[in-house]
Each structure stands twice: as structure tokens, then as C-alpha cells.
């Protein structure tokens, strides 16, 4: 028996990565040669990858949902070597998919492939454009590579070779000199600015796809309203002093969430989804309240299941737990699915408002701006009040301006006069 790894091959032409859709085998399973073991999706196609090895799966090295670069080990298989010719290469990783020499069309070690891709539209493209216009330092490709590896800029060198051609020795000397000059006081290296290319992975990728889907399937419209929440702010202070809320976050978000839940009961259609296949509107029986949370990894939108059934303290605890989990990266997939309406608190970023994009599948999303003191007309005179701007974006296939306006006005009324919360609860 010999343990061998199978690495993700380039499944298309010149691809750099693939997403593991699902595993078709488990640890402990016996696999035949060419038995499909994993489904992988690339930018070109979703394909079943057949095992290049016959044996027993001992380890699955990447889980479903992961996006892995070409060349990344996928699975470890204990192989029975019956034919000595098959086992040629011997070493545990000397297996198909881990070839050292990139002789295949569009195939190469991951770092090389990735670098080629990233640099093509940026630095190197510019460089080759410039070649035509101004004289470039002369150096054969191996020397250019050496310079790149050592971080030496050929533009700064004068070649010692015939016709000013830069030699390996020139580069090595320059690298040595640069190393000597690299004392702590040395001026920072000046590099020509090159655009940074960020890989689209994980949360950032999910967000990009979600907003794109939503923005180009649901026709968005929005209504907004500035609201005097002075009374709510006073209520908030009183609630925070109650023993029921001891240790719980009593935020403006909590009161807005409560007002939204009460208003949603008065206007059930706001809590619904568009079923494209059935050409029907699905009105949800319960509100699973999504909260958009900014995390270090990007935006996530977990939701509180059946939030309308929770007492206010329970809602406060649920919202607190949800945001804590999201910021610590502990949000479960279950918490991310099944949302029916969402609140996004853009006020925490110090802005007054914005027009949010719907969480895919939902009919409405409420953006809450920062609460701040503003001049406000009260009983015909100017007063200083706590004011917040609310924006409701909605799927115009389901919700029209009238419903959106009435819904937002109700939310606003409960925040301006908290007694309405009780009246409508």
C-alpha cells in the first residue's frame, strides 16, 4: 500500500481554480480507476472528476464549497500497487496532477498560472506597451526572470554586455548592493504602482453573487422618510434600565426591528417572495428577520427565525447573538437561509441613509441611517430632535409605491410615538 494525493488539475484551458461542489465518495470508500469522486465547478463547466488512482480513500483534504487553486491536494488515497509500471515514480506525491514540468496546454503549477493571469492585464501589459515607444533595458529572458526574482529593476541598471545588454552578473551585483543598502534607515523601495487584484472568495464572492442576482432579477424601487425618534430614544433609555434587559443591547436597531415586525403584521404582503417558476407571490406566514452585518470577511446577512413571535427582550438577545456570531465568523448556513425581510443598519457607518439592494428572494429591505440631532419643526416652531432617515427598497413586482409608503409610514409612526407600538401589537 502507498498513500498518494490527487491534486486539482486544470479542468479547462488555462484555469486557475475550481469550486468543490460535492464529494461523491467518503473516507473509507474503495474507489476504482476513473470512478467519479468529486464534482468540481470552474468558470467554464461543472464536471465530475474521475479518480486517477484505485484504492481506498483515507483523507478528503478540501470540503464542499471550498474554492481551491489548481494544484491543491484534494484527496489522499491508499493505493495497492499491483503493476510495478503503474507505481513508477514511487514517491508518495508523484501522482497524476502533480507533474513538475508544465508541458500541458494551459497547465502549470498554481503559483505560476495565477501570477501569469494576474499580471497580464496590469503591470506586464503596460510594460509591453511601453516597449514600442521608449527604449527598454536589454536583457535576455532568463536574466529578466532573475531580476524579477531578486526584486531588481532593470531600468535602474546599465548593462555591461555588448550594446548595453544586462547580464546575470549585473543583476547579481545590483541585488547585492541593494541588500547592503537595506539598512533600517534606508528609504523604502519605490515601486511603480500596480493595480492590486483581489481574489473573489468566500463571503465576498457570496455577496457579489447575491447582489448581482438580486439587482438584475428584482426590479428595485425605494421610498424614504426622515423620522423624529426622540420619544423612541427616551423609551430606549428606560428599557435599558429594566432588569428584563440587563446585559442586553438595547439599540435603535432593536426598536426599528420591533416596529418593522409590527408593521409587517399589518401589511403581510411586504413579507413575501417572488416565485418565478410558478409565477406566484409567496406570502410568508412568519417573519425571519435578516440583519445585514459588516464583518472583517465581508457582508453577511443572518436572520432571526420567526422574529415576530419573540418578546422584546428575546429579540434583543437574538439580534445580539446573531451579530456576535457573524463578526466571529461563526454564522451557520441555517442562519443564512430562509430570511424573508431584512434590515441594514448603515447608520453605524456614520451616514444618514442609502438605497439598499434586496437580499435575494425577499420583497423588502429597510435601511436605517444614523440617529442624530437635527433642527425639526414641532408645533410650528423649531426644535432640536433626534432624527433618523429610513429607506425602504422593495421588489416592485410584488410591492407598489402605495404599500411601501404605508408600510414605512407605519414604522415611522411607531418610532415617533411608541404608544402606537402597543396599539398595533
Amino acid at each position: 500500500m502507498a498513500s498518494q494525493q490527487f491534486r486539482l488539475p486544470d479542468l479547462g484551458e488555462g484555469l486557475t481554480e475550481g469550486e468543490i461542489l460535492r464529494w461523491l465518495v467518503n473516507v473509507g470508500d474503495s474507489v476504482r480507476l476513473n470512478q467519479p469522486i468529486v464534482e468540481v465547478e470552474t468558470v467554464k463547466a461543472a464536471v465530475e472528476v474521475p479518480s486517477p488512482l484505485a484504492g481506498v480513500v483515507t483523507e478528503i483534504l478540501v470540503s464542499a464549497g471550498a474554492i481551491v487553486p489548481v494544484g491543491a491536494p484534494l484527496v489522499r488515497i491508499d493505493v495497492e500497487i499491483s503493476d510495478p509500471a503503474e507505481g513508477r515514480g514511487g514517491g508518495s506525491d508523484a501522482v497524476p496532477g502533480s507533474q513538475p514540468a508544465p508541458v500541458l496546454v494551459g497547465y502549470g503549477p498554481p503559483a505560476v498560472a495565477a501570477r501569469r493571469r494576474r499580471s497580464a492585464p496590469t503591470g506586464r501589459a503596460k510594460q509591453s506597451e511601453a516597449v514600442a515607444r521608449e527604449p527598454q533595458p536589454l536583457a535576455p529572458p532568463p536574466v529578466r526572470k532573475l531580476a524579477r526574482d531578486l526584486g531588481v529593476h532593470l531600468e535602474t541598471l546599465r548593462g555591461s554586455g555588448p550594446g548595453g545588454v544586462i547580464s546575470r552578473e549585473d543583476v547579481a551585483r545590483a541585488a547585492e548592493a541593494a541588500g547592503a543598502a537595506q539598512s533600517p534607515e534606508a528609504a523604502p523601495e519605490v515601486r511603480s504602482p500596480v493595480a492590486e487584484r483581489l481574489p473573489l472568495r468566500g463571503v465576498r464572492r457570496a455577496m457579489s453573487m447575491a447582489v448581482t442576482t438580486s439587482a438584475f432579477t428584482a426590479p428595485h424601487a425605494s421610498v424614504c422618510l426622515a423620522v423624529d425618534v426622540t420619544a423612541s430614544m427616551r423609551l430606549r433609555e428606560r428599557l435599558a434600565g429594566l432588569s428584563d434587559f440587563a446585559g442586553l443591547p438595547v439599540s435603535p436597531l432593536l426598536l426599528v426591528a420591533k416596529a418593522l415586525l409590527v408593521a409587517a403584521r399589518r401589511h403581510p404582503l411586504i413579507n413575501s417572495s417572488w416565485d418565478e417558476a410558478a409565477q406566484e407571490i409567496v406570502v410568508h406566514p412568519a417573519v425571519n428577520l435578516g440583519i445585514a452585518v459588516a464583518t472583517a470577511r465581508g457582508l453577511v446577512v443572518p436572520n432571526v427565525k420567526d422574529a415576530g413571535a419573540l418578546p422584546l427582550a428575546g429579540l434583543a438577545r437574538a439580534l445580539g447573538d446573531l451579530t456576535d456570531a457573524a463578526r466571529e465568523g461563526r454564522t451557520t448556513p441555517a442562519a443564512m437561509t430562509g430570511g424573508t425581510i431584512t434590515i441594514t443598519n448603515v447608520g453605524v457607518f456614520g451616514v444618514d441613509g442609502g438605497t439598499p439592494i434586496l437580499n435575494p428572494g425577499e420583497a423588502a429591505i429597510l435601511a436605517l441611517g444614523q440617529v442624530r440631532q437635527m433642527p425639526w419643526v414641532v408645533d410650528g416652531g423649531l426644535a432640536v430632535r433626534d432624527v433618523v432617515q429610513l429607506t425602504l427598497a422593495f421588489d416592485h413586482r410584488i410591492v407598489d409605491g402605495r404599500l411601501a409608503g404605508e408600510f414605512l409610514a407605519d414604522v415611522s409612526a411607531m418610532l415617533t410615538e411608541p404608544a402606537m407600538l402597543t396599539a398595533w401589537s
Partner: protein, 394 residues
């Protein structure tokens, strides 16, 4: 295992071909259910051995194709173009060729390569990026794979015109052009997508006007990558031949017997000085265009399932079974042979050495000349200056 796993016996004698190409309907001799049907123009009496060997070639071709796809998915090939579904069109047409005929294939004609006697390992070498050609075109009567869409149709016509002129010169100037009895024929393979290319239409013009001994073998597999055949033509493809002045015929491309009969007839016509024929083999590409394509994005699963019912192998198998022309041992033996071929291909493929970088100069020109020598010396010097000799294979 012999170097040529597939027999390359051109069909003669035991098939009786009557009539000419040009009939309106789809020529079919074996239905998808495996029933023999008669056709007024193509009366065929095929003995069991011939049917068995056609079936065997199709099984081997399919197995090679499966292994090619698997090897690509495992990172051993850069790309693979699957022939699945087109075995009958390729085997039937290639088995009609004589040894000195010349075929000009696209990159999907793996079964043609097998039937011409080339070791399938050579196909792997191409898709592994180790060779630009793969085999000696003259030895096997098979030009290199053409990646450029449709260019090979012009190559085939050029070759056919050469054959025609060689024959005319051999006979002396008094003979009228076009009389090339007994001389080789060129076959241009291409697809429905290539039928829209200028090269193919130019090839039609030249072949028609000069009465070239060429057969245009179009595998209409219904999809030009993601474009359906109805986006290539308003009339059935075979009827385009009318406009160029030679006959066209549509044959059931999944019926190996009908393809063989129709191709034999067209080849004979060309040998007899009758000029070109366009054969449209009506078939289906069961797989994606290549391993870098996702066919589910542009065609329905129902369509694929419909065509799977017309499988080219199953109908021959059903016929052999029903007529008791082959026993279970035969099918077992063919299966075992195909598995052995696949295992050998895999072993050879994984063991193939990278070609030395300097080999790229070897086949660009027929002979050496000073600029070529200079370039070779330049590259050799460059390789010597490489910081990491392991980077570039010597």
C-alpha cells in the same frame, strides 16, 4: 499488444453497392432498434465477420474516448474533444478507405485515426502537448489533426488535384483531365459548423470546377460548439452540394452500415473520375464540445436523451444478438480488448517523455537551411543561460 490495435481493412468485394449518391431521404440500413431495412440505392449484404469488426472498432473508439476524457479530468491531457455518439460516422467512413487514400481529419476524428492503423497513444501525445502532428501522414494516409476549423477541406482538395495531375501526367497529355480511374481519393472531414466557413465553400468550388477526386464527409453533429445546426443553414447541408455542381447525400450517421455503403459509393465515384460528393452524416455529439465546454448551458437534457436512443453501437449489438451473428463470448472479448487498450493508453500516456525543446525545429521545414540553423543555435544558447535548467526541458 500490437502497435495497430484496429484492423485497417478497406471494404471491398463482400459489399455490393448499387446506385449513386443524391437521393433525397436519409439513407439508413440499420434502424436504431437494430432492424435491417432496405434502401433502393444502397443494397448491402454484410457478412457477420464484417459487422463484428465494425462493432469492435466502434467499441474500441468509444473506450479510447472515455479514457481520453478521464485523463484530461485528471490533469494528464490539456484538452480532449469527445467523439461519443459519432463512432459510426467515423468508423463507417474510415473503413471504406483504401490504404493509399488520404484522409484529412479534424481534432475529433479519433476513430478515423484508429481505423487508419495509427496507435491511439499518438492521439494522447497531441492532447498532452508533446507533438504538433502525432503520426507520419504519408505512412498512414492520414493528415494531422486540423485545429483550425475547415482549413483541411482545402488541404484535401489540393491533395486531390495533385493526385489528379499526377495521374494525368502518368498517362500522358492526350488523356482528358478528370479521368483518374484507380487512383487515390482524398477525404475531407469537417462538421456542421465548418460548413459555414469560407475555406469549406472555397474547397467546394475548386473541387466542383476541377472535378477533383475528393469526398467531403460532413459529420453534422447538430452543434457547432453552442450554435445549433439551424443557425448554420436554411437547407439541409447535403443539398448545398447542388449549388456547387456535385451530388450530396444525407446518411444516418449513427448507422455504421449505411455510412460505410454511402462512403464506398462516393469513393468509387471519385476513383472513376466522377468527381466530388458531399456526404452529410446526420449524427449527434453526445458529449460537450470539448472538456472545456459545458453543454448543459445551451442544450436540453431531453435532446441528449433522445439521441442516446439512437446509439450507434447498441443497434449493431442488437442486430448481432437477434440474428445470432455473434455470441456472448464475442461481446465479452471485445469488452476485454477495449479495457486492455485503455489500460495500455493510460500507462503509455503517463510515461511519455517531454520532447527536447530543440526538437521544435525538426519538422518545420522539409530540410535544414542557414536561418533555421541560426535559430536553433540561438535557442540552444538561451537554454544554456537559463537560471534553472529544470525549467525548460532540454
Amino acid at each position: 499488444m500490437p502497435a495497430s490495435p484496429v484492423s485497417r481493412v478497406a471494404a471491398t468485394g463482400d459489399l455490393r453497392i448499387v446506385g449513386q449518391a443524391g437521393s433525397e431521404a436519409l439513407v439508413q440500413l440499420l434502424t436504431p432498434e437494430g432492424e435491417r431495412v432496405d434502401h433502393p440505392d444502397y443494397v448491402v449484404d454484410a457478412p457477420a465477420e464484417r459487422l463484428q469488426s465494425l462493432y469492435r472498432d466502434m467499441v474500441l473508439a468509444r473506450r479510447v474516448d472515455e479514457e481520453g476524457t478521464a485523463l484530461q479530468r485528471q490533469g494528464q491531457l490539456g484538452l480532449w474533444a469527445s467523439l461519443r455518439g459519432q463512432e459510426a460516422a467515423q468508423v463507417g467512413s474510415a473503413r471504406a478507405l483504401m490504404a493509399d487514400d488520404m484522409a484529412f481529419p479534424t481534432y475529433r476524428e479519433h476513430a478515423v485515426v484508429l481505423c487508419r492503423g495509427v496507435d491511439a497513444v499518438q492521439i494522447m501525445a497531441i492532447f498532452r502537448g508533446l507533438t504538433h502532428g502525432g503520426w507520419d501522414p504519408h505512412r498512414f494516409g492520414l493528415a494531422p489533426y486540423s485545429i483550425v476549423i475547415g482549413s483541411q477541406a482545402l488541404h484535401a482538395v489540393g491533395y486531390a488535384l495533385g493526385v489528379q495531375r499526377d495521374a494525368a501526367r502518368a498517362r500522358g497529355p492526350a488523356r482528358p483531365a478528370g479521368q483518374t480511374t484507380g487512383s487515390p481519393v482524398a477525404v475531407a472531414y469537417f462538421g456542421d459548423g465548418a460548413a459555414s466557413q469560407g475555406e469549406v465553400n472555397e474547397a467546394f468550388v475548386w473541387a466542383g470546377v476541377y472535378n477533383a477526386p475528393v469526398v467531403f464527409f460532413c459529420q453534422n453533429n447538430q452543434w457547432a460548439i453552442s450554435q445549433p445546426a439551424e443557425r448554420q443553414t436554411r437547407v439541409p447541408l447535403y443539398r448545398r452540394a447542388d449549388g456547387f455542381g456535385f451530388p450530396g447525400v444525407r446518411v444516418d450517421g449513427n448507422d455504421v452500415l449505411a455510412v460505410l455503403a454511402v462512403t464506398l459509393s462516393a469513393l468509387q465515384r471519385a476513383r472513376d473520375g466522377g468527381g466530388p460528393t458531399l456526404i452529410e452524416a446526420f449524427t449527434y455529439r453526445i458529449g460537450a464540445h470539448t472538456t472545456a465546454d459545458d453543454a448543459t448551458r445551451y442544450r436540453s437534457l431531453a435532446e441528449v436523451e433522445t439521441w442516446k436512443l439512437k446509439d450507434p453501437l447498441e443497434r449493431v449489438k442488437a442486430f448481432l444478438h437477434r440474428k445470432q451473428l455473434a455470441d456472448p463470448a464475442f461481446f465479452e472479448q471485445v469488452g476485454a480488448e477495449s479495457d486492455a487498450l485503455a489500460a495500455r493508453l493510460r500507462r503509455k500516456c503517463l510515461g511519455m517523455a517531454d520532447p527536447p525543446a530543440l526538437a521544435m525545429f525538426d519538422h518545420v521545414y522539409a530540410g535544414e537551411h542557414p536561418p533555421l540553423r541560426r535559430q536553433r543555435a540561438h535557442l540552444a544558447a538561451y537554454l544554456d543561460s537559463s537560471p534553472d535548467p529544470g525549467e525548460v526541458p532540454r
